[in-house]
Amino acid sequence: MKKLQKHTIDANEPVITISGLYKSFDDLEVLKGIDFTLYKGENVAVLGKSGTGKSVLIKIIVGLLKPDKGAVFALGKQVDKLNRQELDALRLRIGFSFQSSALYDGMNVFQNLAFPLNMNVKNLSKKEVRLSVEKVLDAVGLIDKINHMPSELSGGQRKRVGIARTLILKPEIMLYDEPTAGLDPITSTEIIELINEVQHQFQTSSIIITHDLTCAKNTSDRTAMLLEGQFVKVGTFEEVFDTQNEHLKDFYNYNFIQ
C-alpha cells in the first residue's frame, strides 16, 4: 500500500463536536449518549458491527437525520438548529460519500459531477465546469470514464466517482459511509489509498464509517469503536485493540489485518 507523508492535525481546532447524542427509531435505541470530537486535518475511523448506528451518526452530522437529544456542532454551527439556507451553506463544506455511491442513474459521469457544481456555483462557464470535472476525475484516476453511465462502471469505479462528486465542491470535511463495503481486496486497497490521497491533496478532515479493520488501520489517525450505541474506546488503532474487552477482541479476530 502506498505510504503518504505525515500530515498535520490541529488539536486546537475541532471541526466536529458531538456531545450527549441520542437517537432512536420507534422502540429501537440506536445511539445512547455519544461524545466525540474530530480535529482539523484528522482522519477518524468509526468501527462497529452492522446496525450499531455508525451510518446514523454521520447522517445526523450532515443533517439528514435529527437527533433526539444532544448537540452536534460542525464547523462551528449547531446542525439541528440551522434553517434550510444555513444547512445548505454548511453542507457545501461537508462531503458525504454514500455506501451505495448514490450516483444519479440518469446522468453520465460528467453530468453527475457537474450537477452539484451547476446547482451551487453561479456564473460558471461550460468550460470552467468541464475543467473542474476533469481535474477531480483525474485526481480519482477515472478521467477516461467521463462519458460513461453509472451502470457501465464497476463497484470500485462507482465509489471513486461518488467521492469525486463530493470533492468537486472542495469540502473541508469528508464523511465516508462504508467506503470499502462489497469490494474485492485489491479495489479496497485502491479506495484506501484514495482516502489518504484526498486527505493530503484536499486537506480534509474525515470520518470513515467502516467495519473493515484494514481500512480503519490504514486510513485513520484515531479509531473509535462503537458498541451498543456508545463509543467504548477511542484512540489509535493499536490502542483500541490492545484490550481485554471480549467484544473488541472478537471483532478483531474476525477480521483479516494487513
Partner: protein
C-alpha cells in the same frame, strides 16, 4: 377514563397510519405550492420533463385517441340511425370527445404511463440514496425532482388532451367518411357547432387538474418510497391506482360544478 396520551396508537395502527398518510399528503401539496413560486426556477429541467411526459406519450395518445374515435362512432351510429338522426353523429362525437372522452382517456393513459414512471423513478432514487445525495450536495431535491415534474405534468397533459381530442375526432371522421361521404371541414364544423366556450373551458380545467393529480400522486408515492425494491414497485403501483381513482372522483365533481354553472 381512557388516557389517550399514553396509548401507543390513538385508534389502531392501520387507522393511525391512514390519517398520517392523509396529513403527509396535505403537507406535501402545501410544500409544493410553497416551493413552486420560490427561486431558483429550473426552466431547463421543466422543459426536459415536458419532453418526457409529453413527446414520449404522443405515440400512445395518438393510437388510443384514434381508436376511441373510430370505435365510439361505430357504436353510436346504429342507435342514432334507429331514430333517423345519423346526421347528428359529428355533433354527438364533438360533445363526447371534447367534453369527456378526450380528457378522460388522456388522463388514464398518462396515469398509467407517466404516473407509474414518476413513482418508480423517484422511488428508486429514494431507496438507492440518490435523493439523500442531492440533499447533502445542497440541492433541494423536492424543488428539483418534485416541483419540476408536477409543473411539467400540469402544463403538458392539457396539451395532450387537446391533441387526443383532435385525433379522436379525426378517427371519428374516418369512420363517418367510410359510411357517408363528407368533407373533413364539414365534419369538424358540425362537431364544433354544439360546443360552447364553457365546454372548452371545462375541458381545460379538467385536464389541468388531472395533470396536477398525476404529477402530485406519482411524486408523493415515489418520494416517500421505503423498503427497497419492493417499495419501488409498490410506489409505482399505488401511483397508478390512486391517480386513476382520483381522476374519476374529480371527473364527477367537475361535471357537477360545470352543470351547476350552466344551470345558473
Amino acid at each position: 377514563m381512557i388516557n389517550f396520551w399514553n396509548r401507543k396508537y390513538i385508534f389502531t395502527k392501520v387507522i393511525d397510519q391512514y390519517f398520517k398518510n392523509v396529513y403527509d399528503a396535505y403537507e406535501f401539496i402545501k410544500l409544493f405550492f410553497k416551493e413552486a413560486f420560490k427561486r431558483p426556477f429550473h426552466f431547463r429541467e421543466i422543459i426536459n420533463q415536458c419532453y418526457e411526459v409529453g413527446l414520449k406519450s404522443l405515440p400512445l395518445i395518438t393510437l388510443t385517441g384514434f381508436i376511441v374515435g373510430i370505435v365510439f362512432t361505430k357504436q353510436s351510429r346504429p342507435s342514432l340511425e334507429a331514430f333517423g338522426a345519423a346526421s347528428w353523429l359529428p355533433s354527438l362525437m364533438g360533445i363526447a370527445i371534447i367534453k369527456a372522452l378526450g380528457p378522460l382517456v388522456t388522463a388514464l393513459i398518462c396515469a398509467g404511463k407517466v404516473g407509474s414512471g414518476i413513482g418508480a423513478e423517484l422511488g428508486s432514487m429514494r431507496v438507492t440514496e440518490q435523493i439523500d445525495a442531492m440533499e447533502v450536495s445542497s440541492v433541494n431535491p423536492f424543488k428539483f425532482l418534485v416541483v419540476n415534474r408536477i409543473i411539467a405534468t400540469t402544463i403538458t397533459i392539457p396539451v395532450l388532451v387537446f391533441y387526443c381530442s383532435f385525433v379522436g375526432l379525426y378517427g371519428s371522421y374516418i369512420n363517418v367518411h367510410t359510411e357517408d361521404t363528407s368533407s373533413i371541414l364539414t365534419f369538424y364544423q358540425n362537431a364544433f357547432s354544439t360546443i360552447t366556450f364553457l365546454d372548452i373551458f371545462e375541458s381545460v380545467v379538467k385536464s389541468v387538474i388531472y395533470g396536477f393529480t398525476i404529477g402530485i400522486v406519482g411524486c408523493f408515492k415515489g418520494f416517500n418510497a421505503t423498503q427497497g425494491t419492493l417499495g419501488v414497485g409498490r410506489a409505482a403501483n399505488h401511483a397508478v391506482v390512486l391517480a386513476m381513482f382520483l381522476i374519476f372522483v374529480e371527473e364527477i365533481l367537475i361535471v357537477q360544478v360545470f352543470n351547476w354553472i350552466r344551470f345558473y
